[in-house]
Symmetry: C2
Subunit: 374 residues, 2 copies
């Protein structure tokens, strides 16, 4: 295969579930899947020195087009050699399209057929995103994988609203595809995003239309926006089989360790979420024996490691008592060491899941989960 | 020599100045001098992962008794095995006595012969420090080097006030020495602190009195408290020769790279200051070609390293443009990478100064300085 292009290979399929284990080849290295992508909003995974991220063998991170467009600006990043060079990140990079961020700040936006006018959450200045401009911005950033610009349907949405929003997303998807074709440099892949809220026939129409546009991968968008958990699982369950089997399937903005396991069983290959990094900074730590809220008094003199089953530097070196102290004194180092641990937890879990799919015992993960836990 | 005790050896003396190059043997390793001690206020050098600090070959750090007394409490640290274990720091540790912090928050303090009552800057709760309690607190922390509890005379102070304050410090020094003798475990060294404001005869009386108490090292306190720079140099110049020649001489809370060079020429061996770490976080970076205020627009598209002559990870990996971006977006990583650089600058400078004293060309540093610079 062409080392300069993104392609996908499925190496193992689970016999009891729809889980797959594969590898995403990118111009910046191979990414074994299923994969969790740490979120590097502003071109840096918050509080994670790149040395730590590399030691963790993170192969791909996600950066936010919306944030980089505002600061320092995509044109500046392009002049500085692209996001890989600017951030000194040699692994793979996926950029989202900003659709979700514009959706999050909806009181600041004004949507039309042409695109979305929105106000910066930083200084209130106005900008206008169109499918074409968002493709151009991501091209300037130079990510390995770009996402189409979509209208992220809020929850709850009535059927008619969800349908109109989904159809707008499809028209934008076509414009993104055309713009991408015009600018195609052979190195950047483009993924489609299925919308349709919680309506199965809308998800189906979206998936079928996007399938014909032949993207390099397909994502499920518009979830984790406030809908009940079971409804989210239901949508993933009926949407995943509608996605091309031989291309990477990406569930955007999800989620908890349990979400990941369940979605992998449904055939999802890629994930991103701020949960491990944001929770870390807020004192919520994932461990093999359940969550630890590090601010709690019970850890004040706890000499044990955060997670006795974790091999990260935080767990090898520091006690819960010391981490709690760093949290309470507001040290930057608290953010560093807590993020390192939570990301290790996520990435180690994904590594083990990949192994289990390859070895044919992925079902154990579902069993483990049913026995309860956090 | 006894590896469990702190001792000092002078290896080289400069022929043209009073500079000395030596080694401070401590129960937690050897510390080549002159040495700059990074400040680890709360038992952690702010924003510096211990791995980075170790890679920098930092051999000794300073921790603040006042801050650790308040959070998490010295008794807690003692129960957790002492500060070395709590903070997972295997190098040498020096604790100050809290005198300076109590002085800094003077509107919150009430001083008497017995000691100082003060209010916590965190929650306003009252505490009472005495020479005896401060020795006990540092013993609980388990630092390699403890400092006596002194009254840090403010600047400006009239002669009578400075004399009364200095004499109170001497009475407290005696009480500290006696308490230390009672608690002596053979592992922790105690340093005296010379006061006397800007009056040479007061400094002389203080130095002579403390000299008879036979501390393991001697410090100059009460400087860098608002006096003009030249006056500070003058005090160091006439005080240093009054300090025991064969024991380490420590200038507390000083200073800029220029301050360090000038004080080393006067015979000082040890320094601590928040300048490199605090300045880093505020965007003030030390480089071989002068200071860099990283927030400035001139660096927005500067692809060069922060300091082309620096080998730290920050300079090897990132551009000024990226560091400026991290600063402006308020990323924790900005604090990490800027602190790493500024401490590298300080520690590399001290390493080169030690080499130059050993090689007999320390005078070049003074020459360099006179040619100007930052």
């Amino acid at each position: 295969m062409d080392p300069k292009k993104t392609s996908f290979e499925i190496l193992h399929s689970d016999s009891r579930t729809n889980a797959r284990q594969g590898v995403l080849h990118t111009p910046h290295g191979d990414v074994p899947t299923p994969v969790f992508m740490p979120v590097g909003t502003a071109g840096a995974v918050k509080a994670m020195p790149a040395e730590f991220l590399e030691a963790l063998d993170a192969r791909i991170i996600l950066a936010n087009t919306y944030h980089l467009y505002l600061r320092p600006g995509h044109e500046r990043i392009e002049r500085l050699g692209g996001l890989h060079k600017f951030a000194s990140w040699n692994g793979a990079l996926l950029t989202d399209s900003g659709g979700y961020q514009v959706f999050s700040h909806r009181e600041l936006r004004d949507i039309s057929e042409e695109g979305v006018q929105f106000r910066s959450h930083i200084d209130g200045s106005k900008s206008f995103f169109t499918p074409e401009s968002v493709i151009a911005i991501q091209r300037a950033l130079g990510s390995d994988i770009a996402m189409i610009f979509d209208d992220c349907t809020p929850y709850p949405a009535g059927y008619a609203d969800a349908e109109a929003s989904m159809e707008l997303s499809l028209r934008w998807a076509k414009r993104c595809r055309e713009e991408w074709n015009r600018q195609n440099n052979g190195a950047q892949a483009l993924f489609g995003i299925i919308q349709g809220s919680v309506y199965s026939d809308l998800r189906k129409r979206s998936a079928e239309f996007l399938g014909e546009l032949e993207f390099s991968g397909m994502a499920i968008g518009g979830l984790s926006v406030g809908e009940p958990k079971e409804l989210m699982y239901e949508v993933v369950e009926y949407t995943a089989p509608l996605m091309p089997w031989d291309k990477p399937r990406y569930l955007m903005g999800v989620g908890t360790p349990e979400d990941l396991i369940r979605a992998i069983a449904m055939g999802i290959d890629m994930f991103d979420c701020v949960l491990p990094t944001r929770n870390a900074r807020n004192g919520y730590l994932f461990t093999s024996t359940g969550r630890v809220l590090i601010k709690n008094a019970q850890y004040a003199e706890d000499q044990g490691p955060l997670d006795p089953n974790c091999s990260c530097q935080t767990c090898r070196r520091y006690s819960r008592a010391y981490l709690r102290h760093l949290f309470h004194t507001g040290e930057h180092l608290y953010a560093v060491y807590s993020t390192l641990h939570n990301l290790t937890f996520y990435l180690d879990m994904m590594r083990k899941i990949r192994e289990s799919i390859a070895l044919g015992n992925f079902g154990n993960w579902l069993g483990l989960m049913e026995k309860g836990g956090d």
